[in-house]
């Protein structure tokens, strides 16, 4: 068993959280709130050391006064604290949303639309490639709600449902895997790091 006080503290909090499996209790709620507070505290300290110092304080010390423009713009966010001037906080938001949208629009179209469509165009007629092409077309048809799913469209959409069920089944299988992995991680912590029962 470990003598590291930090691991002991981690174990106590782990057990507090696991105790909720039996029923809701104050120990669990204590750990939950402590977690929120510690995360927020972590964010504050990291923002100070990693963001405010190198991105604002140091450049200004090195006379990079051009930074004053985005700084003033950013400061407008704080107008939210004054209800009458709160509308000014929309300006930096508009800048961030406008530039963000403008930069990402062509890239997203290229990465998620053109490249993906390109990958769907089959170059050899193997069984797998045909499955892929049929799967994409029928799935898109299923999600196309501008036309009523009747007749040929209905039949194609019906095939799409089967594909979707296979995909969702696979996703579910993977989700089970992920959740179990998290549990395994915690039990390894308890049995290895704390109790030293396993290698």
């Amino acid at each position: 068993m470990t003598h590291d006080i930090w691991i002991w503290a981690g174990v106590v909090l782990t057990l507090f959280i696991f105790s909720s499996l039996y029923k809701d209790n104050p120990f669990y709620r204590f750990a939950e709130r402590l977690f929120i507070g510690a995360t927020l505290g972590y964010a504050i300290a990291l923002t100070w050391h990693n963001v405010i110092i190198p991105k604002i304080v140091l450049p200004l010390q090195h006379h990079e006064y051009i930074l004053i423009i985005p700084l003033c713009f950013g400061l407008l966010y704080f107008s939210r604290f004054f209800p009458k001037q709160a509308w000014l906080s929309r300006w930096p938001m508009a800048f961030a949303i406008g530039t963000g949208t403008g930069i990402s629009l062509p890239l997203v179209i290229q990465a998620s639309l053109f490249k993906q469509l390109q990958g769907t165009m089959i170059t050899s007629f193997t069984f797998s490639n045909i499955v892929l092409l049929v799967g994409v077309i029928t799935t898109l048809t299923y999600f196309f709600f501008s036309t009523e799913h009747k007749g040929a469209v209905g039949k194609i959409a019906r095939i799409g449902i089967w594909f979707i069920m296979v995909s969702f089944g696979a996703a579910f299988g993977y989700t089970v895997m992920a959740r179990v992995s998290l549990l395994i991680g915690r039990f390894q912590f308890l049995l290895h790091d704390w109790l030293g029962l396993i290698k």
Partner: protein, 279 residues
């Protein structure tokens, strides 16, 4: 009887699940591990990076909730890089990711005490912006971060002297449990090769990018991490505890139990339904 089964207190199910996880730790089965093509591809891609040549970026776009899956991947990749003398830039697009990167680095460094900060690896600080950070790195990595995590200016670090943008980066490996901006921004705009280490939940969503080569290789979930550990152990030797491989026995047993739960639950459901319709 079936009604009784259906009404079983869920705490018994919790207990059974816990037992199924713990037992294989005490009585390991050592089941064989088959390596899947996406994992092999990522391993080969990193293996092909020349020693002391272009660097590898390891991004932790994740938080502690994904650590049991992504942690073993990070440790295996870092070990591979250190063994092959590949320079590594560690960073976190998410704020908790930086802390995790530091924790993983400290863990691996115990086995590689000769590896030095600023010469063999650099830990970058957190920078606000997510996708904007990825784009800015394509223009100038020094200007993006200014200093390393510990506050040392990047210009003064020997490793960073020859690294300015993606031209000097061989591969970016993003460890993530959610969306990643690397594909749309770094790959599409700068042609940067991307590898992924994702949680099992995210793995099916990443396959479309694998087929189009927008992602060169992928480690998916704890199983993927175990495959990577196996590959590393076979080719270069793995230092320390193979956490993912050890966990796979428990994973196998719990999956079998879950499948049995589904089957048993369905039998009980249809048996009681039939009885209700008969009466």
């Amino acid at each position: 009887m079936w009604n009784k089964i259906l009404g079983l207190d869920r705490r018994w199910i919790f207990l059974l699940t816990a037992v199924c996880i713990i037992l294989p730790f005490i009585l390991p089965m050592g089941l064989p591990m088959q390596v899947s093509p996406p994992v092999q591809n990522l391993y080969d891609k990193i293996d092909a990076i020349p020693p002391n040549g272009p660097a590898l970026v390891l991004d932790f776009n994740c938080d502690a909730s994904t650590l049991p899956e992504l942690g073993p991947m990070a440790i295996a990749i870092l070990q591979q890089c250190f063994k092959k003398n590949i320079k590594v830039i560690l960073m976190g697009l998410s704020m908790p990711g930086v802390g995790i990167a530091q924790a993983m680095l400290e863990e691996v460094k115990v086995k590689f005490p000769d590896k030095q900060n600023g010469i063999d690896y650099v830990l970058m600080p957190y920078v606000v912006g997510f996708g904007i950070v990825v784009l800015r790195m394509g223009e100038d990595i020094h200007k993006t971060f200014e200093t390393d995590y510990y506050g040392t200016p990047l210009d003064s670090l020997p490793m960073m002297q020859g690294i300015h943008n993606y031209d000097q980066i061989a591969l970016v490996v993003c460890l993530t449990g959610s969306v990643t901006p690397w594909i749309a921004f770094a790959n599409t705009r700068y042609g940067q090769e991307i590898g992924l280490g994702v949680t099992a939940v995210m793995a099916p969503e990443a396959y479309p990018y694998l087929q189009t080569n927008q992602v060169v290789g992928m480690i998916g979930g704890l199983k993927g991490a175990a495959e990577y550990e196996t590959l590393l152990n076979k080719n270069l030797g793995f230092e320390g505890r193979k956490t993912a491989c050890i966990g796979m026995d428990s994973q196998s047993i719990v999956h079998i139990v879950m499948i049995l739960f589904i089957i048993l639950g369905n039998i009980a459901y249809f048996a009681t339904k039939k009885r209700v319709s008969n009466t």
